[in-house]
Symmetry: C2
DNA sequence: ATACTTGCAAATGATTTGCCAGTGT
DNA sequence: ACACTGGCAAATCATTTGCAAGTAT
């Protein structure tokens, strides 16, 4: 692994701040760490570890390194992941608008909503079942309007 | 695979009816098919393919056969499965009280509830998001009362 | 300098598939 | 009889781990 980063990501803003924050907390900002974060900054939405590696044309950038960095960054609260049905975990940056998800298990479409939009639901679940529901890690799964009609 | 079935399951009632139903629809009731169904009839709750094989001391009963039969039986509507967080799919008989689930992602505890208990929730989700939520295949995930306190 | 990280290969866990032999109807 | 199934081995997919070599601080 000797190539420079694929693209300077400066224009997305913020990534250097993440590097600084990591360093100031005593963590090392290594090449794979940077590549993972750059891919996540580049991404339009939640992406898999495999996508992160594929979207990064740097020889020697290994899935295992991506996973190790994803785990570390998640523990540090920089990123998080969601399980959308079957399929791999999808990772995203924390902070850029916390979201919770509704997944259509027929067409796979994902609706991202503001947690506050689900608060009434959460309250009802809390009241009825004494559970604090969270839909940011595992989404609400069902059928979207379109697919519900086709059933 | 030449051994007789591990245990006669007659006392659980109903399994012979399932065999008859399968045969009358032109499906073959083979040894692995019986073993899978027997394990599911025996089980207290949803169990994994691995548990099914482990709970069945019949040499030559292979995971692949268990999976093939689980898939078939599911397509026939005899069984279904749920994804409880990480970990393998858990299979159960259909009909013996349809349930939907709430999973505590901290302690792993699962609460099974009658679908009707979630209908108000479903209505709210339908109203607010135009989604028909179903929690029988993917549960509601969050924190149970106990774990919510410890957070 | 040195502890933390990596690259790479091999292991893991859940599940699937290929293929030919076996069996339920 | 014969198509549907099974056993078994190997493949797949997502992810993890072991370990010696590399590197960020």
């Amino acid at each position: 692994m000797t190539e420079p980063a694929a693209t300077p990501i400066r224009e997305y803003g913020g990534i250097e701040d993440v590097f600084d924050a990591l360093r100031s907390e005593g963590h090392r900002v290594t090449t794979p760490c940077r590549l993972v974060l750059e891919a996540l900054f580049r991404a339009a939405g939640p992406i898999s570890a495999q996508q992160i590696v594929e979207d990064t044309p740097v020889v020697g950038f290994e899935p295992s390194s991506a996973y190790r960095n994803l785990e570390r960054l998640e523990q540090l609260g920089v990123i998080r992941h969601v399980h959308l049905g079957h399929g791999p975990s999808l990772y995203m940056l924390v902070g850029s608008g916390e979201k919770e998800f509704l997944l259509c298990e027929r067409c796979g479409r994902v609706k991202s909503v503001d947690p506050s939009a689900l608060d009434p639901l959460r309250e009802q679940i809390e009241r009825d079942f004494d559970y604090r529901a969270r839909f940011g890690h595992f989404p609400i799964v069902g059928l979207c309007a379109t697919c519900a009609k086709h059933e």
